[in-house]
């Protein structure tokens, strides 16, 4: 996957001041930008070559479908119906007839071309500002044919970045816990999929209980909790090689692991004799440090992106609340003061917000607050939901939701959902089985 060749052949750098189209992502977008995604054009020989390799009839249309779907799920764009397109894909890519695209109310247009060169997939694409009649961006990528889905995601990231001014989150993956079986005997496996649900893969067999996988923000490593041999311990998994090793082999339960922002440490809880405290382990020299020291439960630690602070969950006040402290454990401060209980604090990759789960009057909420606890905003309310994880650009949260069972204990399900930071655009994230504990990877490329 990592082997993608990222060669930029054409680079027309547009000057921002000329761009008419801009998408504001800081508020709920009730008028998504109308965008036309013209199918990427392809010559007949290339089409046939790819058909053999990836078993898709037209790789050009497939890639443009990925782009279209990504743009749509972002909630910021409204991809227009292809039936209304007047211009043929190959000609549009050379020089769009802007009047035609204007007629169907497209404000932005994406065109492109796919070719098969030296056993490689070459994709070029252009983003056009229809109203201004200008090219905004032109890029080309060359990679192995099997990376074709990723090309679609990278194109979306580039378009998203050009139009919103912020990095995208489409060339990413989600690791989660796949669940099956009755509630009292749930079978849980680690699973991974592309952000859009494609390429789902199970990473463990379900022989032992696994929980709370989290990505290393700097690589394709994952830390998680496994009940291997009935000893709940923190493990490390290399997704590329499948190598696993125990890292939290302390004389008791280690749980709630997360990486430090530089990926060099794991921060986790260690429970012994009824007391859970927060520890870090340096992955290089295996030095363990005790960070929090209190007879209450201290868990769910999460670093600030600069690594200077840690937010965590503690019941030292009597009930679950959110606290922050310096990364050495000093200067502990409670920041959640609203009504109810607070759990699972996660620091935004942008640094300005902390996402959390809140329990109040029998309802569960996913919300965000500033790092000093001010500005609390609840995004969604439900019977049960928890464990938000940020998209790498800090604009979307993914979490899991469980349904209430009926009087006979039937009707249980657990599913992944995503919601924009604005509180809009709540979506079910489709998975082949029930799912929980999602963690969003950083961008795979760049």
């Amino acid at each position: 996957m990592i082997r993608i060749l990222f060669i930029i052949l054409l680079l027309v750098s547009p000057i921002r001041a000329f761009a008419l189209i801009e998408v504001d992502i800081t508020r709920g977008n009730l008028n998504p930008l109308p965008v036309a995604v013209s199918p990427l054009s392809i010559d007949e020989n290339s089409r046939k070559s790819f058909e053999k390799i990836i078993e898709k009839k037209n790789i050009g249309s497939e890639i443009s479908l990925i782009v279209e779907n990504n743009l749509k799920t972002s909630g910021l764009f409204n991809p227009l119906n292809k039936d209304a397109f007047l211009q043929a894909p190959d000609i549009a890519n050379l020089k769009p007839r802007f009047e035609d695209w204007n007629l169907i109310k497209a404000q932005a247009l994406i065109t492109g071309k796919v070719s098969f060169i030296n056993e490689k997939l070459r994709v070029e694409f252009r983003l056009w500002d229809v109203l201004a009649g200008k090219e905004m961006m032109a890029l080309a990528f060359t990679t192995v044919p099997n990376n074709w889905r990723r090309v679609g995601h990278i194109i979306t990231d580039k378009v998203y970045e050009r139009l919103t001014g912020e990095k995208g989150y489409f060339d990413t993956r989600i690791i989660y816990v796949a669940e099956e079986g009755p509630k009292t005997k749930r079978i849980k496996k680690l699973a991974i999929m592309d952000q859009d649900g494609a390429n789902n893969k199970f990473l463990t067999l379900g022989n032992e209980l696994v929980l709370t996988p989290r990505f290393n923000p700097t690589s394709q490593m994952v830390t998680y909790l496994s009940y291997f041999r009935n000893l709940p311990r923190v493990y490390l998994l290399d997704i590329e090689t499948g190598m696993q090793e125990v890292v939290g082999d302390f004389p008791g339960m280690t749980f709630a692991p997360r990486f430090s922002p530089d990926g060099k440490k794991i921060i986790m809880s260690f429970a012994k004799d009824g007391n859970s405290d927060i520890y870090t382990m340096d992955l290089e020299n295996r030095i363990v440090e005790k960070i929090s020291n209190h007879p209450s439960i201290d868990t769910s630690p999460s670093y600030s992106p600069d690594g200077k602070y840690i937010c965590f969950n503690s019941d030292r006040s009597g009930y679950q609340q959110i606290y922050i402290m310096n990364s050495d454990g000093s200067n502990v401060k409670r920041i959640s003061f609203g009504n109810g209980l607070y759990g699972t604090p996660v620091w935004s990759p942008r640094g300005d917000l902390i996402a959390f789960t809140k329990l109040h009057k029998g309802k569960f909420y996913i919300g965000v607050m500033r790092t000093d606890g001010s500005g609390e905003r609840l995004l969604t309310e439900n019977f049960y939901q928890e464990a938000p994880s940020w998209s790498p650009n800090g604009r979307v949260l993914i979490f899991y939701r469980e349904t209430k069972t009926d009087s006979k204990g039937k009707g249980f399900s657990a599913k992944l959902w995503s919601i924009d930071l604005t509180g809009y655009n709540e979506r079910l994230v489709d998975t082949p089985t029930d799912a929980s504990d999602p963690s969003w990877s950083s961008l795979l490329s760049n």
């Binding site: 509630k183 009292t184 749930r186 709940p232 749980f255 009824g274 868990t299 679950q320 049960y384």
Partner: protein
């Protein structure tokens, strides 16, 4: 009801016979409905007090026995790790049984209900099992014979989403390890 009846008497003077009959019927119905309500709510509360005290489970539905008269589990209130009087009584029986069977080792499995975040519940389960462990130790059971394992909310015994089911799931279960 007394108040209603006296009302009726006052009304008789002013209203004709038919109206009184109607009124009687209405009052009778009202009486029956009230009685029915009282009976029903009494049933409901007696059912509750039969299996829960406060929100701690006191029933025996899910309880298994380590030996005759030695229940295997104790129950907790929401978000609590403190042992109730009933829990202490159960643990004293377990301690007596363990003293009699000095070659036995046990695992205390701590659990939480589904109404809490996963990681906090893991810690809570660990703390509940340790409450039980500490109590067994004060009754002479060596810590060498006891290990502790928290399942958090991962292994409920009752899959219901209601207070009774949750009360059964907030538990520490003593399991023979050898």
């Amino acid at each position: 009801m007394k108040h209603l009846i006296s009302c009726e008497k006052v009304l008789i003077r002013n209203i004709d016979q038919g109206a009184i009959m109607k009124l009687n019927k209405i009052l009778k119905k009202a009486f029956l409905v009230t009685v029915a309500c009282l009976v029903l709510s009494a049933c409901a509360t007696s059912k509750k007090t039969g299996q829960m005290q406060g929100d701690v489970y006191t029933g025996t539905d899910t309880v298994e026995y380590l030996a005759s008269g030695v229940p295997d589990r104790v129950f907790f209130a929401t978000n609590e790790t403190v042992l109730t009087t009933a829990a202490r009584e159960t643990l004293r029986k377990q301690a007596a049984w363990l003293r009699k069977n000095s070659d036995l080792t046990i695992v205390l499995e701590g659990h939480a209900d589904e109404r809490g975040t996963r990681e906090y519940n893991l810690a809570l389960g660990e703390r509940r099992a340790n409450s039980a462990k500490d109590y067994l130790m004060t009754y002479g059971i060596s810590s060498d014979r006891i290990s502790v394992l928290s399942y958090g909310k991962e292994r409920p015994v009752d899959s219901g989403s209601n207070p009774l089911a949750w009360s059964k799931n907030r538990r520490s279960v003593t399991v023979k390890a050898n």
